[in-house]
Every structure is written in structure tokens, then in C-alpha cells.
Amino acid sequence: MTAAVEAHEVTRTYQLDGLAVPALRGVSLTVPAGDYAAIVGPSGSGKSTLMHLLGGLDRPTTGTLLLAGRDVAGLGPADLAALRNRTIGFVFQAFHLLPRTSAVDNVALPLVYAGLRAGERRRRASDVLDRVGLGHRLKHRPNQLSGGEQQRVAIARALVTSPSLLLADEPTGNLDSATGAEVLALLEELNRESGVAVVLVTHDHEVAARARRQIRMRDGRIVAGGDPS
């Protein structure tokens, strides 16, 4: 079975006013299907940068990156978008739900770009909302939902295309600890039951401790928990 993501000696250097800022200095990482990994590390160590690469939102400066077995270097922006749509789900710290849009329509958004008809989109979106425990909140708008509920809507959106990899960058960062725990429990349950690989970034060691493996980063490198080599 192909790994969800494979990164080989990946670097990412930002250009800032003509100055090269190396955010990743050579990272190799394989996320097998169904994996559950937590990335930890100090602020500025490159965790978010790595997540963007793993999710195909960004491209490495050097190195090879395979998403669902395909080398991103050979993919155009449209192909990459299609690949994100089918194989990857994102959960953001800031939820990033569309305002003025109901929960069910927010969840259905990725299906719009998958080319599904409205009826089918609604049906699948309500199914997934049901699964994250929000079957009774379909018509609510983001501003009518609590923070925890909003993040669960975002998780439902990430899952609606049945991706093989779910990337969550500090998913509990904007939530109180009790609500955060519920969200994490949900992610664990989804990983266990549907086999979606989960990679999450967290500053919370307890959270990290519950993952199958911990990846420790510092200064743009993985210092512990990388690929067994």
C-alpha cells in the first residue's frame, strides 16, 4: 500500500526581501496509510511549513515529495488542487469556515470542486456532520456555533471527500482544554475507525503523548521520531 506522504530530503527556503530564510533544511518523513503522528517543536521550527508541504499547498525548494505516490514536482497547480481535493483534508487552528454559510454547505465545499451535484453534496455533508456529532446543527452558521462545534464542522469538511490523510495544524489551539480534548478524541476515533492517517501539530505534550508516534522538530529539521532508518 502506498504511503499517504513520502518526503525525501525536502527543504523549503522563503525569500524575504532578497534574503533567503531557510524554514526546512532537509526533512525526510514517511506517513504510512492509517498512521497517527504528532509534530512537536518550538515556535518557528518549521512545523507549519512542513504541514503545508505534506498537504500539497506548497512545493519544496529542493528534495522529493510524493503525495499518494505522485511526485508533486510533475504536477501543475490544477493537478495539485485536484490531488488535495481527493486525498487530503486540512484542519486549521482558526477553523477557516465560510461566514454566512450553513454548516452543511461549509462541509460540502470540497465536493463542489469534486464536481458533485448539489443533492449528493448535501447528503454526504450531512452524513459526515452526523458522524462528528453535529447532525442537529446542519443549518447553523459559524457565528451560531461554539468554538468546539466550529472545529468539528471543519473536521467534517476535511473528511467529506474521504481523504487518506488528515492534516491538523494546532487544531485545539483556539479551544479550551475540555473542548480541545473532545476534538482530539474525535480525531483519534476517526483514525481508528476509518483508517485515515492523521498528522497533527501541537504544543501540548499530553496530546502528543497520545499519538502513535511523535516527531520532534528544531530549526527546520526533524530531531527525533523521524523515519526509522
Binding site: 506548497d58 485536484a82 470542486y113 471527500t161
Partner: protein, 394 residues
């Protein structure tokens, strides 16, 4: 992304910011309305002039001394009654032509008076020009030969001077001389703000005596068939030039008059449309500006859409549709307003207005095109946004 979905998203975005949408649309609304109204007025004026020139009769040839061109002062005519007789031999009979001597005079009946355009003419005028009578008869050959003081009145003159009375057989005063009314023309109405019912026709000879001249201002000839009209004009001009060496004469046909007037009005309509077009352009710049603001405001939304699988094209199309929707909605509103305003102008003022399908279609097409042209830069900018940066934007 499905097209219908893009429309729905665009409509939602416009609805979310009604005031701004309305204000942005206003520029396009005004531009399109202006195009429709101004073109309607230009076209209306042209149609009216054409129908008037054509309403005069067919196969007409007008002969005047001097050169016919705009900006030339009219020449004092050297023509007299003997020229009229000579030309009537050239064109094959007196029935084929009429002559005129015109002047502005005051006519009076009791205390009622009116300033009219007085025309001394031949009895053949109604056969050369199309002109119907409402009451009585027209001038006769013997009226002209004996310089009888009889008159045929325009509808408006008869109304003003005689009110409800039948004027036929009654007396009136023309520049201080008594004339007897023999007929009244059928009503023509107003056009381009000019009253066409204020004419008074009297025998050419009587007019010459009244004005103390032997002059004839112009000749009008009805050609037997349209194909020989130019040839006939040349013959008439040759005859007149021979009789008055060194003086130029011109013969113009209806088509030539129509051509010149049509050109002038066409240019006028073009200028009006161009002015209106500029306002449409300004409206387009407003659309472009608002779309750029919209893209900036919705950077995070764009980033999110890209993260969940929107291709650059999907985003570009979405914003382009939004821009086109904005301008076409404005275009439709402007069309409605423009048509309404044109109808109002035509109904309430002497300015004619004719709504033409091409100006309406053009205005609508241009407004949609304005949306594309002015929406494409913001839309492409949106499509190219880096999702990572877009998502980070607060």
C-alpha cells in the same frame, strides 16, 4: 467547479454587500441608460427627418441658385417667371413642376393675428408635393395667371385665425392686403419642435406683387421616373445656366438631401453614443476597483477554497462571474431605465426618441464585456493567490 455553483457563489457575494454592489452597479446603470437614451434620441431625430423628406413626395428634384452645401449663404435668386416657363418646357409640361417665392409675413383676421411662412406657388404644388386638403380647394391656374388674391391656409393658421368657423370664402389680411381663403390643408402636426401647420400658400404672381419683386426663389420638379432624375437635373441646370451666364444653379434630389442629413445626424448620434460610452467606461473602472477590494477582503476565503481543492481557474471564473454579474445586472437596470427615459422624453417633449434593438443589445453586450475586461485582472489575481499566504492573512 460546476458553472451553476459559481453563479450561486457570485450571487451570494453580491448579496452579502448590497450597498456596495448597488453603488458599484450605479456607474454601469448610468452609462447604459445614457447610451440607450442618447442613441434613441439621435435615431428618433434621424427617422423623423427622413420620414419628412420622404413625405414630401417621390422622385423630387429641387432646383435653387447657388451651391447647395451647408455653411454657404443662400444666393439671391435671379430666376423669374420666364425661367419657370422655360424649365417647364425642359421637363415636359407645367404639371411637372412648381415654383416658390417665400417670405415671413403677419396675417390678420379681426384682432387675431399670426406670423406665418408665406409661400407664393404655382397651382401644381399638390401634384408635385404630397399635400392633402381638409377643406375647400387649392389654387387654380387662373388664380396664378391673374394674380388673384386667394389663399390656402395651414391647419394651425386656420385654427388660430378662424377658430371653429369654416374659413373657406372668408376674408383675411396678408401684410395689409385683403385675401380670400379658398382652402385649408390637412393637419401635419409638429416635428422636431417646428410647427408644420403655419404655412399660407398664395399664387406666385400675387406674392410677387405683394412683395414688390419678380423673383422666383426655387423650383421643385417631379421626375416621371426615379432612374432619370439625375439626367433631368442636369438638363434643368444647363437650361438655367444658359439663361443666366455666370450664375451657378444646383439640382438636388431627395436622396441627396437624405444623405447629407443622415450623415449629420449619424455623426451626432455617434458623438452622443461615444459620450455615453465614456461614462460606461468610468463605470467599468469602478467595477474593477471594487473587485480588487473584494479579492483582498476575501483572501482567506480564496486560500481556504484552494486548500480544499479549488483550481486557480475555479477561483478566476468565480470572480469573473461576479464581475460580469455585477455589470450585467447594472446593464439590465440601465436598459430598463434608459428605455423608460426615452419613452418619457418622446411623450413629454418635442424631442423624438426611437428605441432601437441594436443600441439596447449593444449597451447590454458592452456592459457584460466591461465586466469581463475590468474583472479579468482582479479575477486572475485571485486565481494566482498563494494559498499558504492567503490562509495566513488576517
Amino acid at each position: 467547479m460546476r458553472f451553476a455553483e459559481a453563479w450561486r457563489v457570485a450571487l451570494d457575494a453580491l448579496r452579502a454587500n448590497r450597498l456596495r454592489t448597488g453603488l458599484t452597479m450605479l456607474g454601469v446603470v448610468i452609462g447604459v441608460a445614457a447610451v440607450v437614451v442618447l442613441v434613441a434620441i439621435g435615431t428618433g431625430a434621424k427617422q423623423e427627418v427622413e420620414s419628412q423628406v420622404q413625405g414630401l413626395g417621390s422622385n423630387l428634384l429641387l432646383v435653387v441658385p447657388g451651391k447647395v452645401s451647408f455653411g454657404n449663404a443662400p444666393t439671391i435668386s435671379p430666376m423669374t417667371m420666364s425661367d419657370v416657363n422655360a424649365v417647364s418646357r425642359v421637363v415636359g409640361g407645367r404639371d411637372r413642376l412648381t415654383a416658390s417665392l417665400s417670405s415671413g409675413e403677419t396675417v390678420r383676421v379681426g384682432t387675431a393675428s399670426q406670423y406665418v411662412s408665406l409661400l407664393g406657388v404655382l397651382e401644381t404644388t399638390p401634384t408635385v408635393f404630397t399635400r392633402d386638403l381638409a377643406q375647400g380647394g387649392y389654387l387654380t391656374r387662373s388664380d396664378v395667371d391673374t394674380a388673384r388674391r386667394v389663399a390656402v391656409l395651414g391647419w394651425g393658421v386656420a385654427q388660430r385665425l378662424f377658430g371653429d368657423r369654416d374659413p373657406v370664402g372668408l376674408q383675411m389680411d396678408v401684410a395689409g392686403v385683403r385675401f380670400r381663403v379658398v382652402g385649408v390643408f390637412a393637419k401635419l402636426g409638429q416635428s422636431l419642435g417646428v410647427d408644420r401647420d403655419d404655412e399660407v400658400h398664395i399664387p406666385l404672381t400675387a406674392a410677387q406683387r405683394l412683395l414688390g419683386t419678380s423673383r422666383v426663389d426655387a423650383l421643385a420638379i417631379k421626375a416621371p421616373d426615379g432612374s432619370r432624375i439625375g439626367e433631368l437635373g442636369d438638363q434643368v441646370v444647363a437650361e438655367l445656366t444658359q439663361r443666366h451666364p455666370g450664375i451657378e444653379f444646383s439640382a438636388v434630389t431627395q436622396d441627396q438631401i437624405l444623405g447629407v442629413l443622415g450623415q449629420i445626424l449619424g455623426v451626432l448620434t455617434g458623438v452622443l453614443a461615444a459620450i455615453a460610452g465614456i461614462s460606461l467606461l468610468v463605470g467599468g473602472v469602478g467595477v474593477s476597483n471594487i473587485m480588487l477590494v473584494s479579492v483582498r477582503e476575501r483572501t482567506r476565503e480564496i486560500g481556504l477554497r484552494k486548500a480544499v481543492g479549488a483550481r486557480p481557474r475555479d477561483i478566476t471564473v468565480q470572480f469573473l462571474i461576479e464581475a460580469v454579474l455585477l455589470t450585467t445586472l447594472g446593464g439590465v437596470t440601465g436598459m430598463g431605465l434608459g428605455i423608460g427615459a426615452a419613452l418619457l422624453v418622446a411623450a413629454l417633449s418635442p424631442v423624438p426618441a426611437a428605441i432601437t434593438w441594436w443600441s439596447v443589445t449593444l449597451a447590454f453586450g458592452v456592459s457584460a464585456a466591461v465586466g469581463i475586461v475590468f474583472g479579468v485582472v482582479p479575477a486572475q489575481r485571485a486565481g494566482r493567490l498563494d494559498p499558504v499566504i492567503a490562509l495566513r492573512t488576517e
